[in-house]
Amino acid sequence: MTLTQTTYQDQILASNGFFGPYGGCFVPEVLLPGLSEIADAFEAIKTDETFLAEFRQTLREFSGRPTPLTPLPRLSERLGGAQLFLKNEGLNHTGAHKINHCIGQALLAKRLGKRRIIAETGAGQHGYATAAVCARMGLDCTVYMGRKDYERQRPNVYWMELLGARVVPVEDGTQTLNDAVIAAFKDWVAHPNDTYYLLGSAVGPHPYPAMNTFFQKIVGEEIRRQCLAQAGRLPDVCVACVGGGSNAMGMFFDFLDEESVRLIGVEAGGRGTRSGEHAAKLLQGQAGIFEGYHSYFLQDGDGNIANTHSVSAGLDYCGVSPVLAWLADAGRVEFAVASDAEALEAVQTLARAEGIIPALESAHAFAYAFQLAAELPREAVVAVNASGRGEKDLFITMRHFQEESLIQYAKNLLTI
């Protein structure tokens, strides 16, 4: 892909739903009026200063933006290579970047007069952010969550319920994010008129990939400003984990047309390269059309969707943003993997060296960034997106690091 007159940014913002051959709107006809309504509204708000001002104000007042760009001097010193910077999206209200597109979409839903919001969630961060924003804006909220994620991200289920949302565990299939997405679509088919589907990543049918990228791009915009002020230059490399692609697109968008900035997405390598053991769709997937969009999917070779695995529920998903699929083919974004074990180790490393506990999803980006930084010269600047904070993973990481204490804690809880 060569850049002629239009830039990557222009192409994404002006997109009619296709990014090169990827994207589209492959859904049952019954959903088209609803999607069309959202696409029209998105088109209108892109340049509506009143809407955008309210969006920015809510990000500031409710979510606490801007989030800091934190230098990691001790780790950088220890690795002996590039200077590492951490974009702390985990300091957002509800603990992750997800709230950026939740605020944007909830404001859009209100503008459309929708009172009922549905969402899917994997790690629970998108559901948690959706529940909080809905409570704040007085919207009815139902969140679908695969049974397996429901059990492994229990703290977030509790928070969502405390915020007044209805959390529905999905018993179908592998009981993870994919099944939650399908359950949410089925709900929407049954309630196409009064319900707004607040989809949680840069995936799905048009306009979600472009729209969530648009609402997330503030992350990269802040990094640009902060990096210029703090390091006196733009980052040489930006690293983000990739589940569906919302935090990666949020970080990358502002730098897409800066040729000097390398952009690297890190996928979940899980516990092996066999099918079902990982969630590396860009590195190991195949083109397909599923859940409304054309992109890369993990599949069985005959058009069935494969199972995935990741220690982090937020990366445990079969598909990836069509925007990233396009940027991958174009060679603009590079991709790497980090395994479950490497991610867990990165959580501990970052916690001990810099006093920050990242979400397991984000830890994949750090695991790779640590390797990369060690190979780069000292003057290089590497920014890593800490898409979320690690508190939600309490029971998962504790099981790995202190299993005995966890068992003891669980027993004690019941006897108190």
Partner: protein, 316 residues
């Protein structure tokens, strides 16, 4: 031959096994069902309820391939050349098999219609290509890496684009679908122009519509020449409790007055003779899926079909 029942009977190929699903098809034929709807199983049937989802997943578990399904359909066609057959598949299985190859295979075996629930229909439906489209490259379809429309192919699609543009505009509707990328070269191209010099034998797609279809969009589809319309009984997934949305009567009327030859089926949640009767007041066919699978699971398929036959007036 039995009088035909105005029933479109659905089954999942490969459930509980491929040979057994073929025997089920023969049972439907023996009962006089006018149309068979044969679903190619998919791991994640996004618009289906629990009964069909489980049937699909069981079939997938056994490793039933798209090629197996096509071979089964071919065998059935051979044995029952008069039987009307429609094939249903989610898009990804067709896409990975090869869009063009799939439609070509079905066209060659004389399958009348294809239902793809997650592909909103677009474009013309003639069984011969619009002028010029037949000569563009077939590389578009077979590449598993995606559907890439090269510059030279773009002009081939112009004919289609113009044709679509000249149809009634949807902009006067409150739900215009204006921003939805439907009338896209890419989708048309994905379904595929024939390879160089080959005959275009794609069977037409069946639009699957619900009561929220905007009038302007409906008129567009009627004008595009679709000859079979699948209407969802209500805002539901398959196998839900039955209800008939009041607007369907008006939609059916609009289709018939736009194209008196078009046929209409209504499906989703239909089970009892009373429900079939209610549906046939509006449509030509009652489409039955989950209820047949459940009847089969409970070993009362023949009874169920007999019961329907007794309480249903044969189609003329």
């Amino acid at each position: 031959m039995l009088p035909q029942l105005p029933i479109m009977a659905h089954l999942v190929l490969g459930y509980p096994t491929l040979p057994e699903s073929l025997r089920t098809a023969e049972t439907y034929i023996a009962a006089g069902c006018a149309i068979l709807e044969l679903q190619i199983p998919f791991s994640h049937p996004t618009a289906d309820g629990p009964v069909i989802t489980v049937a699909c997943q069981e079939a997938v578990k056994q490793g039933v391939t798209v090629s197996d399904c096509l071979a089964a359909i071919r065998a059935l066609r051979k044995k029952y050349p008069e039987q009307e057959i429609m094939v249903m598949s989610y898009l990804n299985r067709i896409y990975v098999y090869g869009m063009y190859r799939f439609f070509q295979d079905l066209g060659e075996m004389g399958v009348g219609h294809v239902i793809v629930p997650d592909l909103p229909v677009v474009g013309p439906t003639q069984s011969s290509p619009p002028k010029g489209a037949g000569s563009s490259s077939s590389s578009v379809i077979s590449s598993p890496q995606g559907v890439i429309l090269s510059e030279s192919e773009e002009s081939e699609a112009e004919g289609l684009k113009n044709k679509i543009k000249s149809r009634p505009s949807a902009s006067d509707s409150s739900l215009s679908l204006r921003m939805i990328p439907l009338e896209m070269d890419k989708i048309t191209e994905m379904i595929g122009p024939a390879a160089k010099g080959e005959e275009w034998v794609r069977p037409p797609l069946v639009p699957v519509l619900a009561a929220n279809i905007p009038d302007t969009r409906l008129d567009q589809l009627i004008a595009a020449g679709y000859d079979f319309f699948y209407l969802m009984s209500d805002f539901k997934i398959t196998g839900s409790t039955f209800s008939l949305h009041p607007r369907l009567r008006e939609i059916a009327g609009r289709i018939k007055s736009g194209n008196s030859a078009a046929r209409i089926g209504i499906g989703f949640g239909i089970n009892t003779p009373e429900q079939i009767k209610a549906v046939l007041e509006v449509a030509d066919y009652a489409i039955i899926g989950s209820a047949l699978i459940v009847a089969q699971q409970e070993g009362r398929l023949e009874n169920y079909l007999e019961n329907i036959a007794h309480s249903t007036t044969p189609a003329v």
